[in-house]
Every structure is written in C-alpha cells, then in structure tokens.
C-alpha cells in the first residue's frame, strides 16, 4: 500500500473519503485512504480535555499551525476575504477615484473620520484586508507543502491493497468462472494497463488506481494562486505610470523629464525606463452623426511612428482605446484627445512674433475646450518695449450659429470651428519660479486690452480671421491649420506576464482538479473448493463520482469476455463461498445495473 506517512493523524479513518463511508471504514482500512491529500480536520484544541497536560509553547505553536492549515480555517479565511472585499465596492476608494473619496469625507462629518480610521477609503491596501489574504496565503503554503510531499509519496508508491470485504465498496460485482485465478489476475492487469491504470498484484488481488492528475491539478492550481499573488505584488512595487500630451507632429522619448506627470511603485528605478520613442503623426476620431446618440465617439485612433530601443528601425502603428502600443515591455495607451488651434501673433509692425499651436482642454463631450495662449518672448509693444501677451481661449469645433445661446459645441468634429479670445498684456508671471498651469492665465500682473467701450477686448474668430489689438499693438490670427493632440499613458507593469502565466496554469490545474476523477479498482479471484473461480471486482472513487460503477461495469464486461461465467452456479458453491458470497446481492434481474453499463 502507499501510505507514506506513519503519522497516526494520517490514518485512514480520518481521511475525508473514508469519512464519507464512515460505516465502512473498518473494512476499507488503508484502501480508502488518501484518495486525496486534503489536510485533516482536527478541531479539538490542544488542551481539549479538562485534565489534559499543559502544552508547552511549541505545542501551542504546532496546534495553531495545524489550525491555520486546516480546511476549516481555509474556508473561513476565504469567506472573510469575500466579505472584506465588499466595503471597497460601496465606499469610494482613494486609489480609483480620489475626488469622490474626498467628496464623501467632506459630506459625512462623522462617518468620514471613522471610515478613515478603519482604512475604508483604501480597503485593498488596508491592514486588515492584507491580514486576511496574507493569513490565507500562509495557510495555503502550509497546506500545499505537506500535500505535495504526500502526493510525491503516492506517486512513488503503489495503489493500496484490496480491503478484506469488497462488498463494502460503493460499486461491486462478482461472478464465477472456469478461468484460473492467475489467468483472471493476469487479464485484469492487462485490461487495467490498457486503460492506463497503475496496477499491481498484492495480497492475492489486483489493486489499481487512476486519475492522479486530479491531485496534480489541484496542487498546480493552488501554487498558481501564489504565483499570481506574487506577480500582482511585484507589479505594484515595480510599476511606473506616466502621462504625456502630444500634438500632431510632435514626438516623445521615454525619459523621466519628458513626462507631464509620473507615478511609480516604491521599488521602481528610473533606470528601468525602456529606451523607446514615438511621434504622433495624426489623430483620427469618428462620431455618430445621427440618432439619439449623435456626437458619441465611435473610433479614436492615434497614428504613430515609433522606434524600439534608442535607435531601432521606425515602425508605424495606430493606437486605439483598446489597443495599446507594446514596446520594450512598456505599454502606451491612448487616454484622451482634444484640439490645438494654431494662431499667429504679429506685432504692431506686422512682423510675425510667433506661430503656435496651443493644446486646449476639452470641457464637454462635444469638444468644447478652454485654455490659454501665452507669448513669452519676442513681442515688443508699439513703444518698442518687451512685453508678454496672454490670451484666454475658448474653442468649439462645431459652432451652432449666432444667437443660439452660449457658445457651446454641437458636434465633436470640426465642421464649423470658432475660437473666442480675450487679450491681456504685461507679465505672465512665469519667471517667478512657481510652476504654472499651462491651461490657465495668471492675470494678476497683466493689463486688459480694452475695446472701444473700454471693456476687455474679446472676439470670436472663424478660421482665417484676425483679431486686431487696439492702438497698433498688433494682431492675432486663427489659422487654418487646426491640429489635434492626444494624451497617452505610458506604463510598465513587470509582473503581468507572470500573472498571466499563473492564471493560465490556474485554469488548467482547476480543470484537472475538477474534471478528473481519482479512483481505485480491485480485482480478486479466488479458487473455490469446487474448482470454480470466484471473481470479485470493486471500485472506489470520491463521493461525487458517478462514473465509478459505470467504469467498473465496462471493466467487468471486458474481463468477463476472457473469463466467462461458469455454467449454473449452484447453491452449494455459493454456500461454500462463505461470508463473502452470502453477502452477494440477490442475483435476480432486479439487481440495479450500473449506470452506463450498457456500453
């Protein structure tokens, strides 16, 4: 038999399968044991009896460990894990939506601080949630290691010998034949081998077992869970994520200084940034033109040219919302887009000061956008003095027409663009060293350009139109060249390949574990005193297996072909057969045939 441990705890009587057949455990003995390597449940405490000797520290540790790695505690931890995950889906999380979380804190003056203390605004990185899953995974490891050893032992050993009374098993059959016991055993072994059972002759009967892959699959699944967890954790620690806004025609190379914003895990090193670069050639957006969802985006495509490595060959690709560019282990996602109107600013003499395309930030889904145009150098006013110019810009790609209320866009594509500007001059305040928002104008040190009525100079421009600054201060022209920009998220998450590998292994393991049945078959042929051989066959599987009697039926039918029933099994022979035969089922046709025995 294949028992690999001598530990009394591991005795057959305590194995779950034997428990299923509690009434028959004495008869089954070792034969029913270890159809699975599941840990045993011993819920009794280390000092369960009132006058148990006190356990030392070691005893307690061992008890605690045994509890932690028991199925019962694993089950409770799993339940806790699912319960613990719930609050994070109902309370806004800082990690996913910081604004909402802040909002919640502001509006709930009593709950807010309480939740904060309990870590409910970042459940999945909170101490208590981590405690649950770390305990679960410690339990998992504590469970897998001994199970793997046990399984290796079973693989190296042989199927256990037949129990004394085969009639006690869930599936049983018997008949009398004229073939000798040796012939029957020989044929049985051949048949079983054909069906890829591991079998051997032990104690006067053939013992066979099949379906070891179930156990292997189960172990692989649980190991894969650990791989996935580690990969996920590594991903969090080493990941980096940065954003970059790029205008059509402009490029980006993957160094820290080029990012607009950048976040990274605590173990990330800037050395790890992959040396690639790309250029946005063109952005393409299409929208629904009719129906109730007019204006809803249909496709977004950013056509880019990229280089792998510092000087790899140029390649082209269209990045779409669901289709990031993968390059050097980084992924470049398209996350936003907008317009960048081009303007030409001239001074009083008509000399071009600057021609720039300025990215504006969209404020609605129809492409309405706002921003600021800042002319830092090169401009001299009519007195020849250096000055800076600033314009507040408001842009719509499709203007509804004069008199149609406020200037908001009717459609996200530029069918009828307008650019509304208001003008300032003076100091933009960018030299003060304080970082400035590029989309906002700081007018504290600026003066308004005034129109004829003495109010702030404003004008709404069509493409090609020009707004004249008063008193020969120059002009600004809305050029035909309307650019688009796209914003990208560039991220690196090193563990993801491992996580995927783990996931695939987990599914494969699961399939093995759930779809394969581990089962045992015994064949015993004994010579009766009248020279006729009595063949007994029995099968044992896990409690859920309905296929065991079916398979036994097929095997029996096959064996029966080489060892056919002896004519007229008479009463006398039956009686001689003793205990075993007297327990035979009634051989009338009323006996329930095995499911599927028709094969």
């Amino acid at each position: 038999m294949s028992k690999t441990k001598t530990d009394a705890k591991n005795d057959a009587a305590e194995a779950p399968d034997a428990k299923d057949a509690a009434g028959a455990q004495d008869e089954l003995g070792a034969a029913g044991a270890q159809l699975s390597t599941a840990p045993l449940d011993d819920s009794a405490g280390p000092a369960s009896g009132p006058n148990m000797p006190a356990l030392g520290v070691i005893g307690w540790i061992r008890w605690f460990w045994r509890q932690l790695t028991s199925m019962r505690v694993a089950l409770l931890l799993l339940l806790l894990l699912s319960l613990g995950a719930i609050p994070g889906s109902l309370i806004p999380q800082e990690g996913t939506d910081e604004l909402k979380a802040q909002d919640f804190k502001d509006t709930h003056s009593t709950l807010g601080p309480l939740y904060d203390k309990l870590g409910l605004f970042h459940v999945y990185s909170s101490v208590w949630f981590s405690a649950i899953y770390i305990l679960l995974f410690v339990s998992l490891i504590g469970c897998i290691v001994p199970r793997s050893w046990q399984f290796v032992g079973q693989l190296r050993g042989r199927p256990p010998a037949a129990p004394k009374r085969l009639t006690r098993l869930p599936a049983y059959t018997t008949w009398r034949t004229e073939a000798t016991p040796d012939e029957v055993h020989e044929t049985a072994r051949r048949l079983l081998k054909q069906r890829r059972f591991r079998s051997h002759l032990v104690g006067g009967s053939v013992a066979a077992e099949k379906g070891y892959l179930r156990e292997a699959g189960n172990l692989i699944f649980h190991v894969a869970l650990i791989v996935m967890l580690i990969a996920f954790a590594a991903g969090q620690l080493f990941k980096s994520e940065g954003g970059k806004l790029i205008m059509e025609g402009d490029g980006f190379s993957n160094t820290l200084t080029q990012y607009d914003d950048f976040k990274s895990g605590s173990l990330f090193d800037t050395e790890n940034l992959a040396p690639f670069s790309f250029r946005l050639d063109r952005f393409e957006g299409t929208y629904e033109t009719s129906g109730p969802e007019t204006g809803t985006a249909r496709t977004y495509k950013a056509h880019v040219t990229y280089n792998e490595g510092a000087d790899g060959p140029e390649k082209k690709k269209a990045i779409e919302v669901n289709k990031p560019l993968e390059v050097d282990g980084s992924k470049v996602y398209l996350i936003g887009h907008g317009y960048a109107p081009t303007v030409t600013v001239r001074d009083g003499k008509g000399k071009v000061v600057q021609r720039v395309s300025v990215p504006l930030l969209p404020i609605d889904s129809m492409g309405t956008a706002t921003g600021a145009i800042k002319i830092l150098d090169g401009y001299r006013n009519k007195d020849g003095k250096k000055e800076q110019l600033g314009f507040n810009a408001f842009f719509v790609p499709t203007f509804a027409g004069e008199g149609n209320g406020q200037m908001f866009s009717q459609f996200p594509a530029p069918f009828n663009p307008r650019l509304a500007l208001s003008a300032y001059h003076g100091s933009l305040g960018v030299d003060s060293g304080v970082p400035q928002n590029v989309y906002q104008l700081d007018t504290r040190k600026m003066k308004k350009f005034k129109d004829a009525k003495g109010e702030l100079l404003k004008k709404r421009l069509k493409i090609g139109e020009t707004m004249k600054l008063p008193n020969g201060a120059g002009s600004i022209t809305f050029e035909k060249e309307l650019k688009q920009w796209a914003s990208f998220q560039i991220s690196q998450e090193p563990g993801s390949k491992w996580a995927l590998g783990g996931a695939i292994a987990a599914i494969a393991g699961l399939a093995g574990s759930l779809f394969i049945q581990r089962r045992r078959v015994w064949v015993r042929a004994t010579a009766g005193p009248d020279g006729v051989t009595v063949v007994e066959m029995a099968g044992l599987g896990r409690s859920e297996s309905a296929k065991v009697p079916e398979e036994l039926g097929v095997l029996a039918a096959a064996l029966h072909e080489t060892a056919p029933s002896a004519p007229d099994a008479d009463e006398k022979a039956d009686a001689d057969q003793g205990a075993v035969d007297s327990e035979d089922p009634d051989p009338t046709p009323d006996v329930v045939p095995a499911e599927g025995a028709e094969k």
Partner: protein
Amino acid sequence: MTLATTLAAEPNENLAHISNVLIYSAMAVYLLAFFALMAEWLFGSRSKVARTAAALTAQAGDAAEPAAKAAAASGPAVTVRAKGGTATLERPKQTAKAADSGAPKVVTRAAAGSRDVPDGPGAAAGDEQGDLYGRIAISLIGLGFLIEAGGVVTRAMSVQRAPWGNMYEFNITFSSVAVGVFLTLLALKKNVRWIGLPLITSVLLDLGLAVTVLYTESDQLVPALHSYWLWIHVSTAIFCGAAFYVGAVSTITYLFKDSYEAKLQAGGTPGRFATSVMERLPASASLDKFTYRMNAAIFPLWTFTIIAGAIWAGDAWGRYWGWDPKEVWSFITWVAYACYLHARATAGWKGRKAAYLALIAFGCWLFNYYGVNIFVSGKHSYAGV
C-alpha cells in the same frame, strides 16, 4: 485634417424591429409552455406516490438488523423499486449484449451516512395526461428558445456587433442561454425535466423586466467596448451566469427536499401539498450532486471569464486589475464559489451548509449583474442600464 471620415454603421431599424417582435413572440410561447408545465404538475398530483418514506423505513429496518445490512446496502435501490412500483425510477438498463452474454451486474451502494432514497418520477409522476402536457411544454420551450435566439441574433445584426452592449441585450441573451443550457441537459438525458417550471417562470420574469424597465434602443458601442474581448469575456460571463442559475435552482430545491426527507426520517408527516411536490422531485442526494456538478463544471470557466476581463481591462484602461466595483464583485463571486467547492471537501460543511454557500455565491453573481449596474458607479456603468 481628416476628421469624421469613417462613420460608424447606423443601426438597422428594420432588423431591430424584427428582433423586438421575435422577443415578444418568444415570451408568448414561453407563457404557453408555462401553462403546459402547470398542467403537467397538476395532473401529476393525481398519482399518490410515497416512496421516500418507504425507502427510509427500509433503511431503518436494515440498521436494526445487522445481519441483513450488507445485503440491503448492496442493493437498496432494488428494495425501493419493488415497493415504489413505478418504472420511472429505473436506472439505465444494461444493453442486450451485456445481458445476453450474462455479464456480471454492478451493484452500487450509497455512501454510508447519506440517505438512500430513490429519485422521484418527475412532475408528471407517471400520469399519462401529465406526461403529455410535459412533452408539449418541452416542445414549446424548444420553439420559444429558437424564436428568442432569433431575436438575439437579429438584434446583434441590427447593431452589427455582439448583442451585449446594455442590460436589455444582456437580459435577453441571458435567458435564452439559460433555456439553452436546460435543453442541452435534457438532450444529454440528464434528469432535469423537473427544472422546467421554475426555469420558465424566471425566464418570463427576466424577459418581462427586459422589455419594460431595461429596454434600450439598439445602438452602437462607445469605443471602450469595441474589442474582440467583448465577445470572449461577455459571452462566457453570460453562459456562466445561466449555468450557475440552473445550479442555484437545484440548490434551493435540494434544501426543500432535504428538509422534507429529514422530516420523514424523524418520523414527521409533511403536508399533503409538500408530499405531492416533493415526492416527484429527485432525491436530495441527486440534487446535491447535480448542484455540485453544475457549479464545479462552470467554476473554471468563471475563472477564465475574470481573467479575460482582466486582460481586456489591461488593454482598455491601462491596468489589468483596479478594484472597480464590477471587478470586486466578480472576485467576490469567485471566492464564494471557491468557498462552496472547499466546503464540499471539508468535513462538517457538506450538505446544507455547502448549499447555503452555493446560494450566497449565486447571490453575489446576481448582485454583480443587477446591483452593481444599478446602485454602484464604476467604469463598467456605461453598459447603459
């Protein structure tokens, strides 16, 4: 500038209309099937069968008389069949070939500790008229399924994409898949005909909800939903849900049947209605096994669904796992089903406790499907409730 050059195909109003007509027709057919199923149960109630009690007393007798124990235990169903006297509870017969050659018969024996009770004969309980209505119901369900599937397909054609862009589409697909799972199990000769009534009742509720509260004009998807992962992830999600649903129906039935058997075993007398219904259902042990098989077979697919979703999220949102409410609830559902499977392998957790876990797990799935879309906002909520 090249803008708005390639415009998305407009939904085909005509096909969308046909789809609506088909869905309404399917509802009408299911309603007829519902009445036929009711008739089957009603006629079935004429037959007075009480084989559970008989089987249980037989068992008790065995226990009292140890000498006879082994014999009875090796062929308990035999006893039962003799007393029950109805053909429907027979297990498959051996083929002529095996029988002719006198091949040995296999005797099965229930695991000790579990009640050894025969399966009920089904809703019609051998009543011929009931059985006729049952067959009519099955044919109607088959017809309804074809019509409803046609409705789903025309809807998909009308929008030229997978028909799972909003909850209306999700609902009609969900119910047709659930009916499809039922019909497939029937075709595989599984003992599931009794599920017909609860299934069709809920399918009617589901469709009613779909056409009234959840109805959405057919339309295109926002770009974030455009991906072949939509086909993979959402189709497996729907399939898992439908199969889990069938499992949940059987879990609930198991709980009822189990208490019924327990009551009988304890010497109680259940009410007449309970007796009439319960006697016709499969034995609690069979229901328990069926539940386990459904859930265990679907669990790997559900795992795959979550992983496919994570891969898609990795492409669409730049991270493969971000604890979005929908992700959280898929995860909770997954852990809950893992709990159930563990419970089945844990001493002291089998049977009713495991069944409660299975129900909780399905509750999580339902909440993920309805609750999260309606009550919680997250990245998934553009699925247009």
